[in-house]
């Protein structure tokens, strides 16, 4: 504890002399930086606020632009089953029905596959090489652009469906239609539910599963009675996100659905979805009401997908915070 014996550091010369000029220079610079600090904080605030303004602006634009159609058509817009811009009649029911049919059919087809992938990756083989391959494949499915799905659907899937329809003796085997669109969509939406489901399944606490194994349960019984109940809301959220994706998907559907405004009679009929009719007719809409009616479809699509996505996110947040 004797300080006097330690080597005095003063023998080493100080590199920065604390003289007047150096300090003044540093002070000036520091003042500049303090001003910069305030500016930067407001810049961050602006960037954060911009996102909110952006969303509000989108909502506002959609509402104001669809006002002419809302005023003129009212509720008839939703239930009207005739869409004939030439005669100025706009009933969106065929598109609502087309959207619902394609989305739910796609969901129905994809659920077994996405749940199987989630269980496979989350429970059976979380870390083997072929699980890695499957995981990459699922990511690849999400990465392929929708226009390429559409083109492939048009060139390969549609002729196959056409043959199928001919074999079942349909009068007009077109190939294009709601069924083809659903098939394409079902492939495209697999990754959303699968990857979310996988991470949810991996979150199941090991001690719960061990408790069930300890009681003599088989792997299937553990999955059925522990894993699935525990992840039910997470799987549901994944399915919701898939649905949101299916409702808004435009290009692939537009390319294979047949694009007709006639109310579909069966799932093999050609049709249109809300998104595909916007894609097809937006640049042709020459009348204010026509354009406005299309935007009203966009507004409806916006609201529905926003609600579905927010609901899905809320469920995920709740599950992951538990």
């Amino acid at each position: 504890m004797n300080m006097e014996t330690s080597i005095p550091a003063s023998v080493i010369p100080s590199p920065v002399v604390r003289d007047g000029a150096g300090l003044r220079k540093r002070v000036r610079r520091t003042f500049r930086q303090i001003r910069g600090e305030g500016a930067f904080r407001s810049l961050l605030l602006i960037a954060g606020g911009l996102l909110v303004v952006l969303v509000l602006g989108i909502l506002l634009t959609l509402i104001t632009q669809s006002l002419p159609s809302i005023r003129l058509l009212g509720l008839k817009f939703i239930w009207g089953s005739t869409w004939n811009p030439v005669r100025n009649v706009y009933g969106a029911w065929p598109f609502l029905l087309g959207t619902l049919l394609t989305s739910f059919l796609a969901l129905l087809i994809s659920i077994p596959f996405s749940v199987a992938i989630a269980i496979f990756l989350g429970e059976y083989y979380p870390s083997s090489w072929f699980a890695g391959a499957l995981k990459n494949a699922v990511e690849l499915i999400a990465a392929v652009p929708s226009v390429i799905y559409g083109f492939w659907g048009l060139a390969v899937l549609v002729p196959m469906v056409r043959q199928l329809e001919a074999r079942f003796g349909m009068e007009q085997p077109l190939g294009v239609g709601i069924f083809s669109a659903s098939l394409i969509l079902s492939i495209m939406i697999i990754p959303y539910a699968a990857s979310l489901g996988r991470s949810m399944i991996q979150m199941v606490p090991g001690h719960l599963k061990e408790a069930a194994y300890g009681l003599g349960a088989t792997h299937w019984e553990v999955i059925r009675h522990v894993v699935i109940p525990y992840t039910r809301s997470g799987l549901f959220a994944g399915i919701l996100l898939s649905l949101g994706r299916a409702l808004g998907e435009t290009m692939a559907v537009t390319m294979v659905i047949g694009n007709t405004s006639i109310l579909p009679k069966s799932i093999f009929s050609p049709g249109n979805t809300m998104a595909s009719v916007i894609a097809n007719e937006f640049t042709e809409a020459d009348k204010t009401v026509y354009l406005s009616a299309l935007i009203e479809l966009g507004l409806a699509l916006f609201l529905v997908t926003v609600i579905i996505n927010i609901a899905g996110k809320k469920i995920i947040d709740r599950v992951t915070n538990e």
Binding site: Q33, L44, F120, Y124, V138, S146, A279
Partner: protein, 282 residues
């Protein structure tokens, strides 16, 4: 009897495993089919001429997609220029002020933006840029794509910065650094690979987007570098030529599809490499 029952249960368990196995791998079939078909149909049409020429009119053989390639690059570069600074700043805002009221609304907005169908964003860009500027333009297409990039960049920036140890920021503050320097010189450089992988992911995501470009960038059969004029892009070209009734144009579209696919896959693999590197660093 009892052993029979146990055998039955074990059998059921095995059966379920096989079912899951089959279903899980069944989705690789369409994926493989699509990849195989695109490669088979596209590879024959790709050569040097294909990459450096503009499309020929119907009836003439040959022609290429250089207008779409350069157009895509132009639109994506412009979109990145808009979205990357705003997205990173907003991400920094969220990680620095994670409990403020604005941050709550900002996060909600990001969630909403992520879920908006791309066609709706096309409508918005039409009313915000195409109509006021008096015509379709590359700029309006870029703005639409920038809106789609934002949520991905904001989220990845926020998540990355939140994972950095607080001691890093303290060390910087203790040296008397002003806030903006702490962010730009320490926080962002340390988290750069996470932020970068978010940026790459967002670019990969928008590269194949067609719907928001239909009534913004619109498409253009000729080469154009003017940001206020309509411009062609790869996905738009594929859509327009694929839905045309001409075989020559279908061939062009197959070639373009293969190029787009390779491009998107390359971006995705690159993103993975970056994020893998990032994990090692932390």
């Amino acid at each position: 009897m009892r052993t029979d029952h146990i055998k039955y249960r074990i059998g059921k368990s095995k059966g379920f495993r096989i079912l899951v196995f089959v279903l899980a791998f069944a989705c690789m079939i369409p994926l493989a089919a699509i990849l195989f078909y695109i490669i088979k149909a596209g590879i024959a049409h790709i050569n040097w001429d294909f990459l450096v020429n503009i499309p020929r009119p119907v009836g003439e053989k040959g022609g290429g997609i250089v207008n779409a390639l350069l157009g895509s690059i132009l639109i994506i570069a412009l979109a990145s220029l808009i979205a990357i600074p705003i997205g990173i700043l907003a991400g920094v805002y969220l990680s620095e002020n994670s409990k403020s009221r604005l941050a709550y609304w900002c996060r909600l907005s990001v969630d909403i933006l992520q879920g908006i169908p791309s066609i709706v964003i096309g409508i918005i860009a039409y009313f915000w840029l195409v109509k006021p500027l008096g015509g379709f333009s590359a700029l309006s297409g870029s703005a639409a794509l920038a809106i789609m990039m934002l949520p991905i960049i904001v989220r990845s920036t926020e998540e990355t910065l939140k994972m950095l140890p607080p001691s890093l920021k303290e060390a910087a503050f203790a040296l008397g650094m002003p806030f903006h320097r702490v962010i730009f010189k320490v926080i962002i450089p340390v988290g750069i690979s996470g932020i970068l992988s978010g940026v790459m992911l967002s670019i990969a995501r928008i590269t194949g987007e067609t719907a928001p470009l239909l009534f913004t960038a619109f498409g253009n059969p000729y080469l154009s570098g003017d940001v206020t004029a309509p411009v062609q892009s790869l996905p738009l070209l594929i859509f327009n030529y694929a839905t045309s009734p001409y075989n020559d144009w279908h061939d062009l579209a197959w070639g373009a599809s293969l190029i787009l696919l390779v491009w998107v896959l390359f971006l995705n693999i690159f993103t993975k490499l970056i994020s893998a590197k990032w994990k090692v660093q932390l």
